[in-house]
Structure formats: C-alpha cells, structure tokens
C-alpha cells in the first residue's frame, strides 16, 4: 500500500496532466483521496489530522493552476479539502462534547465546578446563538484541546479509544461526503419539474453536466425547447447542443451575439457555474455576465445549477481580473494572419495589437435569481449561510 504522500503526488500529477475533468469528478476524487490518507494515518488526533489534511490540501490546490481545462484553479479541490477539515473539526468537537458526560470524569468536573461548568454553559449558549461553524468553533476547539490535555493526564488509554472513535467518525462522514458528491446531479435534477413547465423555452450557455441532468429530468414529464449559446471561444455549446439533441430535446444552437435578440422569447435561463462565491456571485464561462445582464433586462429568471462542492467560501475581490485567466490569443486570431499588417506599424516598439481572451466571467449576485443546489433552491443572498454550514472559518485560508 503506497503511503499518503505517494497517493497525493499521484493525484497531483493526474490533475496536472488533465486526467481528471469536471468539477464533480475532481471533487469526488479529492474526497476519496483524503479518505484514504486519513485511513492510513496512525495517530489520529484531531490536530494531527487537520494538519495533515491541510498540508496535502495545499499541495493539491497548488497543482491546480496547471490544469488546462480549468484555467482558473479548480476550486472544488480546495472546497473539498475545506469540507474534510470541517468534518474533522466537527467530529472532534462532538466527540469531546459527547465524551464529557459519558466518560464520567465527575471528579474533575467537581474540581472545576465553578470554572468548567460555567464554561460549558457558555459553550452551550454560544452554540445556540451562533452557527456551529462560525468563529465560536474556534473557541470550542481550543476548549476541547484543553480538555484533551486534561484527559491525557488522566487516562491515555481512554484517549486512544477516543482518537480511534474520532477517526472512525471522520471516515464515515467523508464517506457520506463522497456519496453526496456522486449523487449531487440526481438531487439537483429532482427539482427540475418544479421549475420547468410545458412549452417553455430554456436558454443555456456552454456545457454543463448539471444542466444536462436537470433538463433531462424535466423532459420526462414536460416538453420544452432548449436554446444553446455556443460559448466562444471554447464552443462547448456545440457539443452540448449535440448531446441535447441526441437526448431528444428540440435544440437550437445560437451564436453568443444573438443572446440579446433571443432572450425576449426565452422563459428561463439555466446555466451551470464554475464556482459559486460566498456572496452569491458566480464564476462561469466567459460571456455569462452578458447573458445574465440580458436576462435581467428582460426579466427572465436566471437560474444557476450548481452542486454544493462548487460553493467556495471566499468572497470575490475584483473577480473579473483576479479570478480569471487570460488564454492564448490563438483562439481568436491566427498568429500568421496579422503578422503582415503588424510590420506596417510605424513604431514597432509599441505594442500595437493586444488580444484579450479571458476564460471566465463573474456574474454578480444581483443578476442571479436562483441557485439550484443538491440541497434545494436558494437565493444568492443565502449563500453565506450555506458556507457557514459547510466550512469552518479557520479553513478559509489553507
């Protein structure tokens, strides 16, 4: 059995070689890898687990920018790492709180009668007041640490059992996560019938597996038309339109420039996203912002279909530039084509021609009407809450 480092290296190289495609697959593989890593760890105390996962997580994330298909770092890797960390913290905390009464350290609680009990009270009230994942967690973890320290002194054997329990729980939770990721499309698709009616016209952009599943689920009961914008410069819309028509949809492929012309006859825009940011904005294929604006201008609902593993706990800051990637000009211009007129330029020192070919677009939350995630439909303004549920504030920066 190869060691964890080897496994991680292998996955990193896979990511680099573009062997893994699609955010769902990446997310799933990441989760599985972390599960293996954790299962192979001998000393399974929470801080060690967290440190290990964090270390490998950084490596994985560092591997990502080289993945050509997702020029923007495939954020789902980082998201999954964060979620695993969160799971560990959660299990750790719950193990401690469960342990406190069951372990029967009554003498100790008696000793600390004043201090400890009151602190437990504080903890309880905090838990009531705050979400378990926000900054209160930090206090609790440190509390748990002090508890652990106390427990260590008392009974090391008990400590071992607890650690084993923790590891077991973490493994189970990660298993659940893997299942959740693999089943996310079904979960999303189940909501399709509530949103799509007969004879509607749906406009989509580029290619997205979630959208595909979403539309397919609706098609079982409803008949509707799909317009696909081609999504230059990747033109994944071509592929998507072909797939849709193979599934039996009445599909029309339109150019990106015709988006505004067609949107007046569209009932709903359904798109996939690359990443959902914490403020409810999304990062998607370039051109999405234009589409969202057009939809807004015409009052057409703009629905984003995204699984929770795309939910990124970061707030975008200057996302148009920072969360973007400029790709090769060869997508737009043939290199040879412009060489001759470039030579005619009077001062060749100045750069006469720039080609801008961004890969991603940021759509601000106010242009988005609805998120369909595997845990239901949400407003963009609700994203912060989901993030609080899924990630620990400590892990936002790995």
């Amino acid at each position: 059995m190869p060691g964890p480092q080897l496994l991680v290296d292998e996955f990193v190289s896979q990511l680099r070689k573009r062997k893994v495609e699609g955010s769902q697959a990446t997310a799933q593989l990441t989760a599985e890898l972390l599960r293996t890593v954790i299962s192979q760890l001998r000393a399974a105390e929470a801080p060690i687990l967290i440190e290990t996962v964090r270390k490998f997580g950084r490596e994985l994330i560092a591997a990502n920018p080289f993945v050509e298909t997702f020029v923007l770092p495939e954020l789902s890797v980082g998201n999954i790492v964060r979620r695993v960390l969160r799971i560990i913290r959660e299990e750790d905390a719950s193990g401690v709180t469960d342990g406190l009464p069951s372990d029967g350290d009554n003498q100790e609680t008696a000793d600390y009668a004043d201090g400890q009990v009151s602190s437990a009270d504080v903890l309880a009230t905090r838990r009531l007041l705050r979400s378990p994942s926000l900054h209160g967690l930090l206090d609790r973890v440190s509390n748990a640490h002090t508890d652990d320290m106390g427990g260590k002194r008392k009974a090391p054997a008990d400590k071992n059992a607890k650690a084993w329990m923790l590891k077991h729980n973490v493994m189970e939770a990660i298993n659940e996560l893997v299942e959740e990721i693999s089943g996310c499309h079904q979960q999303i698709a189940e909501q399709a019938l509530e949103l799509i009616h007969h004879n509607e016209v749906i406009l989509t952009f580029g290619k997205s597996k979630s959208v595909m599943e979403f539309l397919c689920a609706a098609k079982k009961k409803r008949s509707f038309r799909v317009y696909v914008a081609e999504g230059a410069p990747k033109y994944q819309g071509h592929c998507f339109a072909k797939d849709l028509s193979a599934e039996g949809f009445r599909t029309t492929l339109i150019t990106d420039s015709a988006v505004f012309a067609m949107i007046s006859r569209v009932n709903m825009v359904v798109v996939g996203a690359h990443t959902v940011m914490a403020n409810g904005g999304i990062i998607g294929p370039v051109g999405l912002n234009m589409l969202a604006l057009a939809a807004k201008q015409h009052g057409v609902p703009f629905v984003v279909v995204a699984a929770t593993h795309k939910l990124c706990p970061l707030y975008p800051e200057n996302p148009v530039v920072r969360l973007n990637e400029l790709k090769s000009p060869s997508d737009l211009l043939q290199f040879g084509e412009f060489s001759e007129c470039m030579e005619l330029a009077p001062d060749s020192s100045a750069c006469v021609l720039n080609v801008v070919n961004p890969a991603f677009d940021y759509v601000p939350p106010q242009l988005i009407n609805l998120f369909i995630t595997d845990i239901g439909g949400h407003n963009p303004s609700f994203m912060y809450r989901l993030i609080a549920d899924y990630y620990s504030a400590d892990d936002f920066i790995l």
């Binding site: 339109a241 849709l244 492929l253 150019t255 912002n289 234009m290 604006l293 201008q297 330029a345 006469v352």
Partner: protein, 652 residues
C-alpha cells in the same frame, strides 16, 4: 438670443452634448427656413425663432442643427422646391369651388373615398399651384363641415382626364383606382401607385408652370411642409398670411395637402412578406427568377423569414448566367456578390446596388409604345426583386430604392428619353454622393469632436463610418486606444482590426463574450448601424445590442453612427419579428479551429437546428446619442429626422 428661450444650463456635460449641436456663429441658417412662410408644423417653434432672432444664435431643443459644412449640395435642390409652392392670389379665386370649401383638414383619414378622388381631380384640373400657409388652412378648415359630394369629385376627375390628356386611363378607372387606395394592403399593387404618381406628377407640373408665370414669390411655401397635415392644428399662424387668404385658397391648399398626405401614406412601406404564409410564398415562387431550395430544418420562431439552402444556389445561378433574361448583367453581378457575401456592409451594398441600377439605366431604352416612367419603374422593380431573392434588402437599400422610384415618377413627361435617363443617373450619383459619401464625412466631423486624448474607444464588428472616424481622429493626432470587439461567424472585426493596425493605431482585439471584461477600461463606444428606426431602436449587426447593453450597465456612453438615409419610419420592439437569417451551416465550423467539429453532419438529426441571425434591435435606452449627418441627436429625435428627411426626399 431668443428671449423666450434662454439657454438651458445643464449640469451634466454628457447630457448636454448628446442632444444638440449648438450652431456656432458661423453656421448658416437652415436653408429651408430662410424663406419666410408659415412655421413648419413639426418643429413649430424653431423656425419662428429663426425669424425673430439672428440665425445661429438660437439654441432650440427641437431644431435639428444645420449641416455646418458644405451645405451647398443640399440647398440648391431645396430652393427648387420653393418655386413649386408659390401662388398667385388670383388663381385661388379661379379654383374656388363649392366642393373644395367644405373639406376639413382634420379628418383627412376618415374621408370617404370618393372625396379622396375628388381632391386629386381638383388639384389637377385647376392646375393647382397655390399653397397658402398651412396654419391658416387648418384654422379655417376646422370650422367647416367635412362632407364632400361625390358627384363633384367625379367631375373633377373627368377634368383630370381632359386636361392631362396623356393619361391612358379613363376617368372612371382612375377614380376607382384612387378609391381602392385606402383599402389596399397587398404588397404588390403597382398599378394603383403608378396612377397616383401620375396624378401627382401632373399636379406638380402644373404647379411649376404656374410658379413660372406666378406673381407672389414671397408667399411661397416650402412644399414639404405641407405634407404634415396631421399636425396642422398645432401651428402658430402668422397674422399677415392669415388675413390675405380666402377660402378658396384654403381649400386649394388642402387639395395639395391631401395629395401629399396620400403620397405619404403611400410612402409608408408596405408590410413585408411573411414567409410562413403559404399562399404568398407560392405566389412569390412563381415570380421568382432564382429557384432557391428552402432550408429543411428551420427554426420555429423564424418561419416568417426566408431561409434557403445556400450551397446549391450559387453554382446553379452561375450555370444559368446567360439565361437570366430579364436581369441586366450589372444587376446580376451585384446579386451574386450579395449572395456570396462578397459585398457586405450597409453602405457598400447600397452603393453597389445603386451603381448597378445606374448602369442598367444607362443601357436602358424605352420599348416602343411604352412610357418611360412606367416602364422604367417596373424595370427597376424587377431588378430589385431579383436582388431581394439574392439577399433580402437592407432598410437603407429600401430607402434608396424608394428615393429612386420617386425621382423617376416625378420625371417631367416633356423630357426626351436621353434627358430623362441622364436626370435619373444624375439623381443616383447625387444620392450616392450626398447621402452616403458626404454624410459619412459629416458624421466623421461630428464624431471626432467626441474623441479626447487618452480615450479608449470600443467598436463592434466592422462599420465603415466608425472606421473612418477612428482613422480621421488618428490623423488628427489624437491619442487613443481602440478596442475591437468581434463575433462569430462573420468575424468582420478582423477586417477592421487589420486596417486600424495597418495605420498604426493601438488596438485591442477581443470577442463579444469578453465584453464585460473589457468594458471596465472603455470610455466610449462607437457603433455602426444598419438602420435607425423611428422609435429610436437601432437595427444593426447581431451583437450590437449586447455591446450597447453592457456599455449602458457600465455607464459608458454609446454613440451610434448612422447616415440619415438609413433612418426608417418603421418601429420595432424586438429582433424576432423582422430580421434576416444567414447560412446556418457556418455556425458549426470555427475558422482556424479544426478541433471544434462536434457538429459535423448535424443535419441528420431533426432535433437540432442552427440559428444564424444577422441583425438585432438595440433598444433606444442603451443609446446615448446618434451621430448623423444632421448632427448629434438623442434617440428620441429620430422620428423628427425621419420626417424632415422624408419631406426633403419627396420634394427635392
């Protein structure tokens, strides 16, 4: 400065610049306003202001600024038209008939058809020339009853017959034709219009003759002003005119009014052919010169637009080149060029068409036993329908053809064949020169003032005017950067980019999806247009609306550069109802990207359709201003220009 109109102080310089082009001290007064006469109903206050104040100092929000430079080519023609309107008071008395005095200008749309014909007849019979001020006409007419005895109408029509002498139609037929007119809705009913045109022409000829012999040149009215009878009530009436007119003059005037009103009605373009109407399509097919195969896999939403298989047509046409009997070779050449896409761009297409027609006219000779006017009009009609089969006409081309047909219809019958041809050819040349080439120069001159050093200008696609603007600004030594936004499948932006880069402009090239990325750094957007519609909608290359929308969202001013001859009185709300479909096959191939071949052989599946729209409609909300040869106007002023322009075009 006009005391009633103090110059407004507008805090936002942007807003102020958009609307009006304050004529400088050196600007000449608008040529058509200098000639006294009643104020123009459509822009009621400015002409009055022009009377009261020294020209050039009045800043009126409604006034369309005069072309500041080289008004010469335009003004002579306008002056011509003044003569047409002059009248003598004596003549009024001659004409005064009981029928005429009973009409009202206010209910002109509701009049019985017999009355309609009566007016026409009256005009011609009397050799109508008198054109009293519009306002007084209305004032008097308002109070009068509107019923017109049909008999009088008929006698008047027979009068036409007698006096005209040339018309081959019996008077009864003529009146019938006239009577049919309001009901007419079918697209191709040439006879009616011809008869009408004939009548109109007679009227004009008589008017001209009268003008030559006439006395009062002073009271002449710009004919075109009369067109707008519907606005008549709103006009302020100069007292002097009012007192001088008698009832006879009024109704005489109204006769012309009605005539022009009808002319205007006629000029409203007929509804376009809807290709989802099966019977119409069948009929059109029978007439068609080209046998086009209709595309099998059509998008449901666009069944009303023609879509043909592209690949088959060109070889077929070329093989039948010498059998295409009714079409002049120059026309068919242009047609093929349209078909293959060699000529694109609104101006280029329009110029090519006009030049082809010009050539055809030079080679034209009147068949024996036919009248030049009628035969030439039908000839041109057949050319145009051939061109339409090759590629649907753009709106600007429709306007040009309308102009041309108008000119031909107004040819004096006294001209010999060669003279008439020369006149028409000269008209075509003048149209190309004045309305396109000169207009472009004016636009460039105006637009350049909006370019400052350090600007980043964005343009979309390849507009010939915008290109001229950019190059001119560069020649002037302005320091700016250009962002060329392009879109598939035509990639016209690359053509523009090549020219700009070749001239040494610093350019950034990107595709339309990246528009919201690039818009952050842009300070001005210059767009070309295929047409500007009466409600301010800009009808242009598909994608323009997207660019304008994004610019609007980013608060970047959007300037649409469009020659006035492309303006059209139609209105449009979306891009669906009227559009043009391009070849769908070009969508699935990406130039220079062979790896994108997902859709090879897509026609096999019935579910998948490709849509290649050519145009889209940009709502006027997104347009900050429209730069025309008349100056820079907000989109709300488009109808004003349309009307002004229509008048000018009718009567030059």
């Amino acid at each position: 400065m006009d005391p009633r109109r103090p110059p407004r102080t507008v805090p936002d310089p942007k807003v102020r610049h958009v609307g009006f082009f304050a004529p400088g001290a050196d600007a000449p007064p608008p040529p058509d306003r200098s000639n006294s006469a009643p104020p123009d109903p459509l822009s009621s206050s400015p002409p009055a202001a022009a009377h009261l104040t020294p020209p050039g100092t009045s800043i009126s929000p409604v006034m369309i600024p005069p072309p500041r430079h080289s008004a010469a080519p335009l003004s002579p023609r306008r002056r011509d038209s003044f003569i047409v309107g002059s009248y003598s008071g004596k003549r009024f008395l001659d004409v005064g008939s009981p029928t005429a005095s009973t009409a009202s200008a206010t209910d002109d749309w509701a009049l019985p058809t017999s009355a309609d014909s009566a007016w026409v007849g009256d005009t011609v019979g009397a050799g109508a020339s008198s054109l009293p001020p519009v306002g007084s006409a209305a004032m008097i007419a308002k109070g009068l009853a509107s019923s017109v005895p049909a008999t009088a109408g008929l006698t008047a029509v027979s009068n036409v017959h007698r006096s005209a002498g040339v018309s081959g139609k019996p008077s009864g037929a003529a009146s019938k034709v006239q009577g049919d007119k309001p009901k007419q809705s079918k697209p191709l009913k040439e006879k009616t219009t011809k008869a009408e045109r004939r009548a109109l022409q007679e009227a004009q000829r008589a008017a001209k003759a009268a003008a030559k012999a006439g006395v009062g040149g002073k009271a002449s009215v710009h004919m075109s002003e009369v067109v707008l009878a519907s606005d008549v009530e709103s006009v302020e009436v100069p007292k002097a005119h009012f007192q001088r007119n008698d009832i006879a003059a009024v109704n005489e005037k109204k006769v012309i009014d009605r005539q022009l009103e009808k002319d205007r009605k006629k000029d409203v373009p007929q509804p376009r052919m809807q290709y989802d109407d099966k019977s119409r399509v069948e009929k059109a097919k029978k007439r068609a010169v080209l046998k086009q195969t209709e595309a099998r896999n059509r998008v449901e939403l666009f069944r009303h637009l023609p879509q043909y298989e592209r690949g088959t047509l060109l070889p077929d046409l070329q093989s039948r080149f010498f059998q295409l009997d009714p079409v002049h070779p120059a026309i068919s050449k242009v047609g093929f060029q349209y078909l293959s896409g060699d000529i694109s761009g609104s101006n280029a297409r329009c110029i090519a068409m006009l030049q082809a027609i010009r050539e055809a006219i030079i080679d034209y000779s009147v068949p024996p036993g036919k009248a030049l006017v009628r035969d030439l009009t039908s000839k041109i009609g057949s050319y145009v329908s051939f061109l339409i089969e090759c590629r649907p006409l753009s709106i600007s081309m429709g306007n040009a053809i309308r102009y041309l047909k108008n000119r031909i219809a107004k040819l004096p019958l006294t001209l010999s064949e060669s003279e008439a041809k020369a006149t028409v050819v000269a008209d075509i040349d003048r149209f190309i020169h004045d309305k396109i080439i000169l207009a472009d120069k004016m636009i460039v001159k105006h637009a350049v003032t909006k370019i400052r050093d350090g600007d980043v200008l964005l343009t979309y696609g390849s507009s010939s005017v915008v290109e001229m603007i950019l190059l001119h600004a560069h020649e002037l030594g302005k320091q700016f950067r250009v962002v060329v936004v392009d879109s598939r499948p035509k990639l016209e932006g690359q053509l523009l980019l090549r020219k700009l880069v070749g001239k040494g402009l610093s350019c950034t090239y990107t595709h339309i999806n990246a528009i919201s990325y690039i818009m952050h750094e842009v300070s001005r957007v210059f767009l070309g247009a295929s047409s500007v519609l009466s409600n301010g909608t800009v009808y242009s290359r598909v994608g323009t609306a997207c660019v304008a929308m994004v610019a609007h969202t980013f608060h970047v001013p959007v300037m649409v550069c469009c020659e006035t001859y492309k303006f059209h009185e139609r209105v449009q709300l979306d891009s669906i109802c009227s559009n043009e479909l391009g070849d769908p096959d070009v969508i699935c191939k990406v130039r220079g990207r062979d790896e994108i071949n997902f859709l090879d052989g897509w026609t096999n599946g019935n579910n998948l359709q490709l849509l290649n729209l050519i145009y889209d409609a940009t709502p006027s909300d997104y347009v900050s201003m429209i730069i025309t040869d008349y100056g820079m106007v907000p989109p709300t002023s488009v109808p004003v220009i349309v009307r002004e322009y229509r008048k000018e075009q009718l009567w030059i």
